[in-house]
């Protein structure tokens, strides 16, 4: 299945796993599609013990929260744009507002800039209370130029 086919399948209400399969790390973390929305889907990271970074508190690992949010941003781009390849991360910045408890986490993204080559995505992550985010982040991605994507498609 190509990326375009997987995207179409998810947009048509099909299995999110088809898209997730292009991003093995997100699959490994355990990401799920929580709320199906064409423009602003909500992703969920179910809690499991292997995600804990501080067993004493306990709290999720800061890298898990970051990796979840980076994955959410990337999957949002795969879902809403017509990219034929997975966009490359340029940079990532995260502010931790509260410690993430050992429970399910949610992430929603906003595409705050969409240029020809660069996209910026802002991500909010929360747990049981949507009004109390555990972290805010933003990420820049390098997009594949559509011309190249078309050319490669023709070569294939």
């Amino acid at each position: 299945m190509t990326l375009a086919e997987a995207r179409r399948a998810v947009r048509d209400g099909g299995d999110f796993g088809a898209l997730l399969a292009f991003v093995p790390y997100a699959e490994w973390l355990g990401l799920r599609l929580h709320q199906r929305d064409a423009q602003a889907p909500v992703l969920r990271l179910p809690y499991r013990e292997a995600l804990v970074g501080n067993p004493r508190l306990p709290a999720l690992h800061g890298g898990v929260v970051a990796g979840f949010m980076e994955s959410a941003a990337l999957l949002q781009l795969l879902l809403v744009l017509e990219q034929d390849r997975v966009p490359k991360s340029i940079d990532f910045s995260i502010d931790y507002l509260r410690s993430a408890r050992p429970e399910d986490s949610y992430a929603a993204c906003e595409l705050t800039r969409l240029g020809r080559r660069v996209a910026q995505v802002q991500v909010r992550c929360w747990q049981s209370e949507a009004t109390k985010p555990v972290a805010l982040a933003r990420a820049h991605f390098l997009l594949a130029p559509e011309a190249n994507a078309t050319a490669e498609h023709l070569q294939a």
Partner: protein, 149 residues
């Protein structure tokens, strides 16, 4: 100054007790007063771009967050409770398996409550980092008086 303030074996035992560090397979290599260094062998499930075979940046970020934490612990000289306030990562080069990631982090400024850290990640050549990062931590050390607030 070369004497580690946090014994490597103790730091390694601590890392083994942290579920996600265990899950990642993080291996602490060195803990000195000035820096901490760890290796992360790469696995197929770490890919972020299956088709091009590139490692996901979340793996790099998790490694950085962990090793910066050890750098702060090393500078303090103990395993106190710390919390990441913020973290910024620049992804300078794509990461392709199989060469393990190496991360070196240093806590370059420690105040009574805050620790400032920076880190670099590379595969083969420390001179060609795949990522650089800045992170800020809060720490719960009450005996630190390097700076009066």
């Amino acid at each position: 100054m070369n004497e580690p303030t946090l014994p490597l074996a103790l730091a390694q035992r601590f890392a083994a007790l942290v579920p996600h560090m265990r899950e990642l397979g993080l291996r602490l290599l060195r803990v000195e007063r000035e820096f901490a260094e760890a290796a992360l062998p790469l696995r197929p499930e770490f890919l972020g771009d299956r088709e091009r075979g590139l490692v996901h940046t979340g793996v790099v970020t998790s490694l950085i967050d962990s090793v910066c934490g050890f750098a702060v612990h090393a500078r303090i000289g103990g395993l106190v409770t710390i919390a990441t306030l913020d973290l910024r990562v620049d992804y300078l080069r794509p990461v392709r398996p199989p060469q393990a990631l190496i991360c070196r982090a240093e806590c370059y400024r420690l105040t009574a409550r805050i620790a400032f850290a920076r880190a670099a990640v590379w595969q083969e050549d420390p001179g060609a980092p795949v990522a650089t990062s800045l992170a800020t931590f809060m720490h719960a050390t009450r005996s630190m008086h390097e700076e009066t607030p």
